[in-house]
């Protein structure tokens, strides 16, 4: 599957209705259909970096959906390499723009909109945290690059040799980069193979998704993130005493 062209990707996800989505400045916004169900779509493509204006455009569509399309599921497509690393973006308060986008998604959730994420390309660092990781369910194409950062970048910052990190990543999927290891941590529900029927799959995920955050439990069950669930529960138990 060619994921480099956003139009091909949208056709595969939403069929003819994908053509009604606006693809502009590497952002995807609008309304489309999954099989026969209407959905709102916010997304990034081309591995773009997300800046203040981009966060506002995505937030604007979420607000419109809440206001005009009660309970319509919101599909989030992620292909972004990160937050725009610029002094002006930081000066203008990029974190607050991301917080606003997340707050919009939270109100959507509270108002009964299902939030479904699919990592279609790059889903890295702050760009994934600022909307995609907030989904009720988080899916990934098997070709997606999901994670905090590639091992080479991690090595450059931590000064730990890449060979050491690579060797450790064999038993520590948290250090590995990609959709499969991220799923082992519980951060992705399911990795979709290249031959999956996307609309059918997506419709099934929308219909079966629930709101509770089950990632820590999933990470423990799958063995990639063994401690988070137990530590969370220990705090809950001891604070109740």
């Amino acid at each position: 599957m060619n994921t480099s062209n956003p139009n091909d990707l949208l056709a595969r996800f939403f069929g003819e209705s994908g053509k009604t989505l606006l693809v502009k400045d590497s952002l995807i916004t609008g309304y489309a259909q999954v099989l026969t169900q209407n959905v709102a779509v916010i997304g990034t493509c081309d591995g773009t970096y997300i800046d203040n204006a981009a966060a506002l455009r995505l937030a604007s569509l979420v607000i419109d959906c809440i206001e005009n399309h009660p309970q319509m599921p919101i599909v989030m497509l992620v292909d972004s390499a990160g937050q725009e690393p610029s002094r002006t973006c930081e000066m203008l308060g990029l974190a607050s723009f991301f917080g606003h986008l997340l707050s919009c998604l939270q109100l959507a959730r509270q108002n009964g909109h299902k939030l479904i994420t699919i990592a279609t390309g790059k889903a890295i660092g702050g760009a994934f945290i600022c909307y995609g990781m907030f989904g009720d369910r988080i899916e990934a194409l098997d070709s997606a690059s999901v994670g905090l950062m590639p091992i080479e970048a991690m090595s450059a910052v931590t000064k730990i040799p890449a060979a050491t990190l690579t060797a450790l990543s064999k038993t520590m999927p948290a250090l590995e980069f990609g959709a499969e290891p991220f799923a082992l941590l519980g951060g992705v529900d399911e990795v979709w193979s290249a031959d999956v029927n996307v609309p059918e799959k997506l419709a099934a995920v929308i219909s079966s998704s629930t709101q509770e955050d089950h990632r820590a439990e999933l990470g423990k069950k799958r063995g990639g993130r063994k401690w988070a669930f137990d530590v969370q529960n220990r705090v809950l138990a001891e604070s109740a005493k």
Binding site: M91, I129, G147
Partner: protein, 293 residues
Amino acid sequence: MKRASLYHEQTARKRIASLVDPGSFTELLPPPERVVSPYLPLLDIPVSFDDGLVIGRATLGGKPVYLAAQVGQFVGGSVGEVHSAKLTGILKAAARDAIPCLLLVESGGVRLHEGSSGEIGISEAMRAVFECRAKGVPTIAVIGADIGAYGGMGILVTCCDFRIMTEHGRLGISGPIVIEKWMGKQAYDSSNRALVWKTSGGKTKYLLNDADVLTHDDSASVGAAIGELLSKSQPITLGGLKTRQQELEKRLGDFGKTSDPEEIWKAFGIADIGEASLASGPEFVALAKRKTP
């Protein structure tokens, strides 16, 4: 008058002790329980018995609170798997018990040594912040340490009901060193502390309304600011989000073309940049004309 010690110079446990009612703090999963990072020993890095996060409950002015305080001295207050799980746990406890939660933030963001594990952990903590907000349980972040709130922690604090900053606090996502590497030293000289603080420091964040309160860099002032906010919350409403959207669009229109933070200061009535640079938090507030939301 006896001067209280500077907030930014204190350690996490001292900060808690200086803010809450004397003797009221009970730590959960305290150091003797050795809830440590399972990752760091594999990388030959020493662990800390609290994994860089102190959590517990206390009273403040007689009212119960839950607290989480990050330890900046330990791997930059960074958020790994255990650290994030403690944070998520205390926020979920706050939501469950309808008790306000204070976050004393001092963190560069996700702990790189634990890879994607801390990234997912921060996202879980964000969900827990919003669990509190959905129930009207106040979440208050205090950002007053030199490390500030960066990366995923920078995003997380913007999800809370309120942010209290001192002139020492910084709030952002990408830190100055990362941006310098990316854009070059001419675009952002990370060793220029004045520029770094004007870009991401409490004063500019206060002007832009990203910090609700700008206080003195001492515990008494921070504590008073917390006291003011403890019984308030900011429910997320459609009207509120639409107003916020307009505010942020206006901000982008007003200042999107400049990269000079002094333009923002001037636009908010700061006539003498030098005087304002040396001003304490409250002095700066008096000099500026912030538009109240």
